[in-house]
Point group: none
DNA sequence: AATGAATGAGCCTTCATTCAT
DNA sequence: GATGAATGAAGGCTCATTCAT
């Protein structure tokens, strides 16, 4: 039977390690980060990683899982209610809001961005649990707005167009910051813009396919 | 001073090293890639890297520069001619065409994608020479389409929306392939979609700001 | 001062540790065996070894002492009775019987064999308490059979010849098993063979030195 | 095409490493020996082991192979000539002579003794190339002396008796030295003793089975 | 220009041991 | 008496780099 008090201390050590590892992995990447950098930042001994996570890669996987759970917890309950436009706006707000939620560690999106660019074995979980469901959700909204006349292929492309505008901001925010830091300052303006930009395009798409007047 | 024959051989060795390094860096990333993997693939001795590039990082920088030059050479002369819509279409085609040009090494966009996600000192060159000019060019097209009434802030956001749709496909193609491989099959369809989607949104934006009827 | 109940539990833990350690040390050797392997097999906590034996080497010494005591307990009372040949047979049976006594743990002879091949500080006890007394005893039997005319040097050599035949079987049984597994199947036949083989040689030696006809 | 001069230097480094490793492995055993102890004694860098032998275990295997080849080279050409007794004497002299050949490194038999007591993956080669052929050869000599009437089972046991007397001296010489150092002083006396002791026993065995007077 | 050999620095990991409970 | 947690020391190995040729 585990000692309760020690168990609490152990959980605290795990937490400190994951936090420190998240920062270091985000700064340097999986390979360039060293165990010593992580344990120094966490204020524990090097061997603690082996004790709590077996090895460096298992720690990395735990960090990714943690980053994932933090992001998933933000899922808005309100995003399936209201008009299509309201749903779209809610979704965009949810995704972009990730960037501005100061209660979440800043390394989270950076680290997931790395993982998406340079997949390790941990990628599958990220895609399956985070990316794909969001992409699917966008597809359903797009279908709702564009109407049933638009062929599936076009819906997929349009969903990609919508999703890309959000994805770029979250997972390539460092690049955006370099290109155009001002654009990130106004979170609500961004949400509004992406929603209107996409709505206009989707409504036009709907019209194009209404009454068989579509070109292709 | 090296004689001509040796110089030719040396150039050939450099070329082989850059080619091999491009592949290995794209597969594993800067830190995880080892010099031995690169020299083995290039069929040369380990010491050759230090001889030709002084160290591993210089080789990496040379590879990035090479990838950059290959991409920049594709710049279409036609993209500044014709109507705004034609210009937009030409631009989208140019960027997306990167992915489908089989005369270029496949590791090129992957490697640049890594660099954008996990910047090294080489990032500045990539942003300055490749990304920023393209972003600026998109802004000018967007301004042309949206008209002078639209505030600069909105133009920047709209340019981001257009640019994001292309960027995602090129520099996160591996992710797109996982999510929805079919969408990448039809290059021309993609170009057409992005152009129409963006045109519709931009035209709507123009209209919204015409005659002072705009909301914000 | 520990109470009785705990003391009994403590003795049980010690016993389990020695048993488990015997097996693991026999399988892997002193250095390759790890404390975790031992405590896992014993079903106790890692710290138990330090608590009961202060350190790994003390545990090893305790295991050797235990193996020694198990072997010494087998000493046959009958081996000093009867004719010289009977004594010899009794001795050979006693030593070889070690291998076939299923009430003893199998790791015992293996472990002692390791210790003899790669001495640690524990070797002295093994030689002093187990090996040397047996070697001396063989010498006395050989002297009894060969008679007083045979010079001491020859008796020592002959004792070595007798002792070697038994020693090999017990402490290199794994090697014998690889070379000729059948020979180990018939314990009684082995005892009989070694006795007869040695008796014939010793009797011949006695004859050679009788009446001053010896060569050297 | 490898540079000849460097190649010679590389061979010299390999030789120094094997020599040093032989000593250290013999002193401490495979696991207790450290790479640093070996490279320090060889006067080379730690990484040299990786460069020349991949890893510690491959070095160990190379050392065992080297020890084996040194021992095998001593195989006497004369041992299959002359009478059975002469053959037996030649064989015993060959095996025991191993111990007294000062041109051979002293760690050789110690190391092989360790390997026989605590087999690693390298054991197979030792048994197959060194031990088994010698055991077979002893069997053939024993058969020659004992005659065709003696059943195979008895020949195998007798060969074991002969072989054990030599084996003990060579591969447990450290133990013998502790028990009775004098006996090792006179190499020729030992050879003579083992030959005569065994001959007497084998001749007696032959007689016992002649004319069907044997007991079992 | 090119290469085989060698090296120093550093990394991940293991392990026996200790500490607090 | 027993244990979960933590740690310091050390080991094997990898790797970029350098050196001599």
């Amino acid at each position: 039977m585990p000692n309760v008090k020690n168990n609490v201390a152990a959980q605290e050590t795990r937490r400190k390690l994951i936090e420190a590892a998240g920062e270091v992995f985000a700064e340097r990447g999986l390979h360039a980060a060293t165990i010593k950098q992580i344990t120094d930042r966490a204020g524990v001994n090097t061997a603690a990683i082996n004790y709590h996570f077996s090895d460096k890669f298992e720690l990395y996987a735990a960090v990714i899982r943690h980053a994932l759970s933090l992001t998933l917890e933000r899922r808005s309950a309100a995003r399936t209610m209201g008009s299509h436009e309201q749903q779209l706006r809610a979704y965009v707000a949810e995704v972009i809001g990730d960037l501005y939620d100061s209660s979440l560690p800043a390394w989270r999106t950076t680290l997931l961005g790395h993982e998406l660019a340079q997949p390790t074995a941990a990628l599958d979980a990220v895609v399956d649990e985070l990316i794909r469901p969001r992409a699917r959700f966008v597809q359903s909204i797009v279908r709702g707005i564009a109407g049933s006349k638009v062929p599936e292929k076009q819906v997929l492309r349009a969903a990609l167009s919508v999703w890309a505008q959000c994805f770029i901001l979250v997972y390539n925010s460092e690049l955006i910051r370099r290109l155009n830091p001002d654009v990130l300052r106004d979170s609500e303006g961004l949400v509004e813009h992406i929603t209107e930009f996409s709505m206009a395009a989707l409504v036009a798409m709907r019209k194009r396919y209404q009454g068989g007047r579509h070109r292709r």
